[in-house]
């Protein structure tokens, strides 16, 4: 699925009546089948951008188009993985995965086949009758992935999907994600705090800066896959992106101070 983000702005009204510009005239084009990672300091509007593409929130100005169709409401074409996984605690793993399929009106037989397929794919066989409260963080993450993927979306939006996991598990799931992406070949947009994660996953890295939320730079990553985190190139690039991030935050801070001083 191709995404066109055209001069999109979004402001929030804070409780005190103050306006927060979460996104300030953002433009971005994502090609079909691309893996995009969005990095940036906290509060730069990464989640907001993802929600606008998902149709969960509406922009104040500008437009988001997916395959030339303006985004209005959420759709099953665009899968969304929430930061807290948002699994339904009253449903078992199987029922969670079945949720979207049932609404879609899949026959019982087809549903069973699809669920079994994804349970196997995610290494969750045997966990089907457990409730989310009985799962480990990594398993929850995979259930959320299975629940979104079994609807065969054309685009997958992920908001810091691995933030709550330990390093080893995170690296394993990153490898799995690349494997899934390479087999299913759809468009991936992933938000992260972790520069290394972005470097390991992305075709292009979008670096954002806060106050107001803007795209600072877009970096194509030409490293061959599978990538090695210890290669000299990898480490060099990581250094480079870290620098870009630091400069971006410092500049934003200066601008804000200047705005405070000048009338």
């Amino acid at each position: 699925m191709r995404i066109d983000i055209d001069r999109v702005s979004k402001t929030y009204q804070a409780g005190t009546g103050m306006k927060i510009t979460a996104l300030d005239s953002i433009s971005l084009r994502v090609d079909s089948g691309e893996f995009i990672c969005i990095v940036g300091p906290s509060g730069c509007g990464k989640s907001t951008l993802l929600k606008l593409i998902g149709g969960i929130e509406q922009p104040d100005a500008g437009a988001v188009r997916c395959d030339d169709v303006p985004v209005g409401a959420p759709s099953t074409d665009r899968g969304f993985i929430f930061q807290d996984y948002a699994l339904f605690p009253w449903l078992t793993v199987r029922q969670n995965i079945a949720f979207g399929l049932t609404i879609k009106g899949c026959s019982r037989q087809e549903r069973k086949l699809r669920i079994d397929e994804y349970l196997r794919f995610m290494g969750l066989t045997g966990a089907g009758s457990l409730y989310p409260g009985q799962l480990s963080g990594g398993m929850r993450q995979r259930v959320a992935l299975a629940r979104a993927l079994c609807l065969r979306p054309k685009l997958l939006l992920m908001d810091e999907p691995f933030a709550a996991l330990d390093v080893l598990l995170r690296q394993r799931l990153q490898e799995e994600l690349v494997r899934i992406w390479q087999t299913e070949r759809m468009t991936y947009l992933l938000v992260t705090h972790d520069v290394e994660e972005a470097l390991f996953l992305a075709d292009r890295i979008v670096i954002m800066s806060p106050h107001p939320g803007r795209i600072r730079s877009i970096l194509p990553i030409k490293l061959a896959r599978p990538r090695r985190r210890t290669s000299a190139e990898f480490i060099h690039l990581r250094q480079h992106i870290m620098q870009l991030l630091e400069v971006g935050t410092a500049e934003a801070r200066e601008e804000r101070t200047a705005a405070l001083v000048l009338p």
């Binding site: 998902g54 969960i56 759709s75 099953t76 969304f80 339904f88 979104a148």
Partner: protein, 272 residues
């Protein structure tokens, strides 16, 4: 090696025994406390103690137990209980039917909250017994006015718990459901109600207590049947045994109904 394995085998067994003994002690203490209460009661009545309270006027516990045994053979006793149980059940079901949708609506829409809540807050502090005159005016039969009182008792606790539960449903669950193709009406059934279920049960267990309060009030004031009516009637007929049997029957029924709510809750909410 052999000794070690033996030790391992013995240890959990001893531990289990200790646990069993602990539970047995707990039960013994509880039984002793009830027996002690009955004994104190018996002694107070037997020696006709009139100070600080007129304990001597009460019937003796053993006489009551004897009379209760006779009651248990009589159809009338069960008819009274059934009449009250039916009224409480009707009140609870009506309470659920009205309070759950209203609580959900008030919880989700600030406009609904502004519109309805001032009125509801006005009625909520009114004790159930004070609803009785209006109930008598509004309804043609005594039966329906008693059911109305039990309904009012169940309504407010369920309403408040539902409102709070609706506000606490995580937005990410609702958004996730939308992203999985769930429309705005189906979200109520598939997300809000199951997410609110624990809150609804909290309201229900408070509400069922209030409903019993309501039914006994209604029956004592205006009923012709029911366990509350029987208790009050017996007092007027100077049959104090029966009054006290009625009192304890009401206590047991209240206890049984909260146990029932808890049992239903455990079967419905399996994920906790």
């Amino acid at each position: 090696m052999g000794v070690e394995r033996q030790a391992q085998a013995v240890l959990p067994l001893g531990w289990k025994n200790a646990k069993k003994r602990k539970r047995a002690t707990a039960y013994a203490v509880r039984t002793a406390s009830v027996l002690l209460f009955l004994l104190a009661w018996h002694v107070l009545v037997h020696y006709n103690i009139q100070y600080p309270l007129q304990f001597g006027n009460l019937p003796k516990p053993l006489d009551i137990l004897g009379a209760w045994r006779v009651d248990l053979m009589k159809q009338q006793y069960y008819n009274d209980i059934l009449a009250s149980v039916f009224r409480v059940a009707a009140g609870i079901l009506l309470g659920l039917a009205f309070a759950v949708p209203l609580g959900l609506w008030i919880g989700l829409s600030p406009r609904a909250s502004d519109l309805l809540f001032p009125n509801l807050e006005l009625f909520r502090p009114i004790p159930l017994i004070a609803y009785l005159p209006v109930a008598m005016l509004l309804f043609t039969t005594i039966e329906s006015s008693i059911i109305f009182i039990t309904f009012v008792g169940a309504f407010f606790p369920i309403l408040l718990c539902c409102r709070d539960a609706a506000r606490q449903v995580p937005q990410s669950l609702v958004q996730a459901a939308h992203c999985l193709g769930c429309g705005p009406i189906r979200v109520v059934w598939k997300i809000y109600l199951p997410a609110m279920a624990p809150g609804i049960f909290t309201g229900l267990s408070v509400g069922i207590g209030a409903s019993w309060m309501g039914v006994i009030t209604g029956e004592m004031m205006s009923g012709q049947t029911g366990i509350g009516y029987a208790t009050w009637q017996a007092y007027h007929l100077l049959d104090y045994n029966e009054s006290i049997i009625g009192m304890f029957s009401i206590g047991l029924l209240g206890y049984a109904s909260s146990a029932l709510v808890r049992a239903v809750e455990r079967t419905v909410i399996r994920w906790k």
